[in-house]
Amino acid sequence: MAFRKIDLTPALRPLLLPSETLLFVQDAVGLYEGRYKVPNFQNGSAYLTTHRVCFVNNDEPRKYSVALELRDVERFELYNGFLKSSPKITFYLRPSDPSLLNSRDRSTSRSPSYSPVPTPPRSSTPLQSIALNRQWICPICTFPNPFPSNFGPTAPIPPCLTCGVKPNRSVLDAIVNSPAVPTKPPNGASDDSILRVGIQRSKNACPRCTFENDQALRNCEMCGEVLSSDALDDSLLTAGTSLSRDESPAPAYLGSVPAGEKIDSVKLSFRGGGEKPFHEKLKGAMVQRKWLLEQAPNVPSITAGAANLTLDSRESDAPARPPPPPERIVGVRGLERQNLALRMNNQRAIAGAFEDLEALMSRAKEIIALAENFATQLADNPSLANSDAKEALNQSAALLALRPTDFSVTKDQISSSSSSLSLYHAELARSIADFLADDRRSILKKEGGAITLVDLWAVYNRARGIELISPSDLESAAKLFDKLQLPVRLRQFKSGLLVVQERNRTDEKVARSVLAWLEELSSTEALDTAVNINWGKSVLAKDAAEKFGWSIAVAIEELEMVEERGELVRDTSFEGVRWWKSPWYALG
């Protein structure tokens, strides 16, 4: 139950928590629970963040994407791979109190689909659990292997999990024939209770408190006990065999983890390599334990800092007064003093924060709050008539509030394995798509739905702040938009101008809106000349740019696109190119 389903961004990357940052991305990763492959989770990308390890399936990302909280991980180890077995990183989970886990699950779940890995119920049919609870001891290396679930006279005998040598059939036969002394089933159900469950399967009684739960539930509503569910389809039993990598020596996940085997670890299998950098970054993340920061005490307030001395000395100039309890000064003087203190504090905060980058990062929250505060003050302040300055200040405040880390993918976050460059570009493309789709910024909306690649490069790099990307990387990434099925696409105009625009924006829609606008102009505005009476209003590219929020280059391209469709005609004169609704289009 270590995995939780996660939300994805429009660009199909994991949605990061407010203070979470992405550390590393690796593709071609498979997922194991215990020693078993998890079906549907065998081909995806692993995202390592400061808080979680996320798995995003390549084919059906919306369906099969889960995350493992790093705080649930007790330790982890790297396995370097051996022959056909890929390198793996194993996460050992903290033993957790099931009731605690359940309550947490319940409190955080918003939808029924929130439940973790969509696997069939844990426990299996009585018969199977008996068989599965057994083990056979490898005669070569003495490793206790799980008894094959499909064992029969004709069934193939699996090799030992450790040494890979197939045992003699008689070894297994001996176990089958030996009196069944199964280890106690994990849910504490005796043979008796198994029988009872068989009778009452429609009601699904809890084996511990006997509360009759709904059949859909997997944990008892009253006591949180794991419920024994009987529905185990045969199809699920065979599901494991259809995995793409059945040549892997590890046993396939058979739809259910054998009872008696507690899942206390999960593994990431790195089929495309990249396990070492992942391991390194993971080590860092586990040391830093950023997820603790939220409860951590704030950075000590600056008032206690050295800067305070100046204030103190100033204040000490004043005649002696009782120090700690600030005396109440009423009236204008009190307000002024209060204001002064506030301003001094702000000044110190800013001075302290900008001293070095580290300090800035640690004070980021404070400074952002301050900037926002300034911004609101500016907005309220009627005396500040200079709107330009207002806007500039607003903008800088907005820029300070940007959180570049959400959108920046850097090359060192991407594995250095063979396909790294394209993976880097794919991740970059995803991050750009997220950046563009971000509601707080709504860059595409501001730009009228299309932004030139050059503008995007500038805006995106500005948002990143550091670790800037090169134009060629941006272009390569933009070219992957279509392949990755992102909500934006790259479009090349006739002149070769490259723009990035929303996927659902088609030429037809643009043409319709332009024409509707022209008609609206002609019907609402005063038609002052004979020309306008006959032919309606005309526009310059500049007007279109203003109306739709396009840049001039995009406006020209869009108008030419509509012209290409025959719905606009141009009028070139000394004052520039004016655009008219085509009277010929309707004719022909």
Partner: protein
């Protein structure tokens, strides 16, 4: 306003500014082109223009709408005339494509008109000078009245080819006999 006083042969597009810009879009251009063709021919008919000097015509009402200060550029004029030439409605007079005959009727039409007029007036078999045909008192109401001499020769050549006429040269003057 200004365009209301224009004669009927001026198309409504005469006051449409984009009419004076060569449209890059193919379908828009073909509409524009056909309207220009019709306008040039009807304008030439109304003004009895036989030879069109492109450079001179640029500043006439034909290609220059002063009320909206739009002028059809010379290359576009040339393109339209070339299109007329391609459909036998015009003919380049010089290889540099600066002057063209505008046939608002085809030479065949003119030839048959002249032939029937000569027939109607009973002048078959008599020799008529070309000036008599184009400048004579009897032909003032005819469509070919005032026609360019060289153009008239081209039209009469149609009759010559049919064996219905013969052209003589008398010094500088030319005569024609139709039978």
């Amino acid at each position: 306003m200004a365009d209301k006083t224009l004669p009927a042969y001026f198309p409504e597009f005469y006051s449409f500014p984009p009419f004076y810009t060569r449209q890059p879009n193919a379908s828009s251009w073909s509409s524009q082109l056909s309207q220009w063709r019709a306008f040039i021919l009807s304008y030439a008919r109304a003004h009895k223009i036989w030879r069109l000097n492109l450079v001179d015509a640029m500043d006439t009402d034909l290609f220059y709408n002063k009320s909206i200060s739009r002028k059809l550029p010379l290359p576009t004029i040339r393109e339209i005339i070339s299109d007329l030439v391609a459909s036998q409605n015009a003919e380049w007079l010089s290889p540099d494509k600066s002057i063209a005959y505008i046939y608002w009727r085809t030479p065949e039409d003119f030839a048959s008109q002249i032939y029937s007029w000569i027939d109607e007036t009973g002048q078959k078999g008599t020799v008529l000078t070309l000036l008599e045909l184009t400048e004579g008192d009897n032909t003032t109401d005819k469509e070919w009245y005032g026609m360019d001499q060289a153009m008239l020769v081209k039209c009469l050549n149609v009759l010559v080819k049919k064996g219905q006429a013969q052209i003589f040269s008398v010094g500088d003057d030319k005569g024609v006999k139709v039978w």
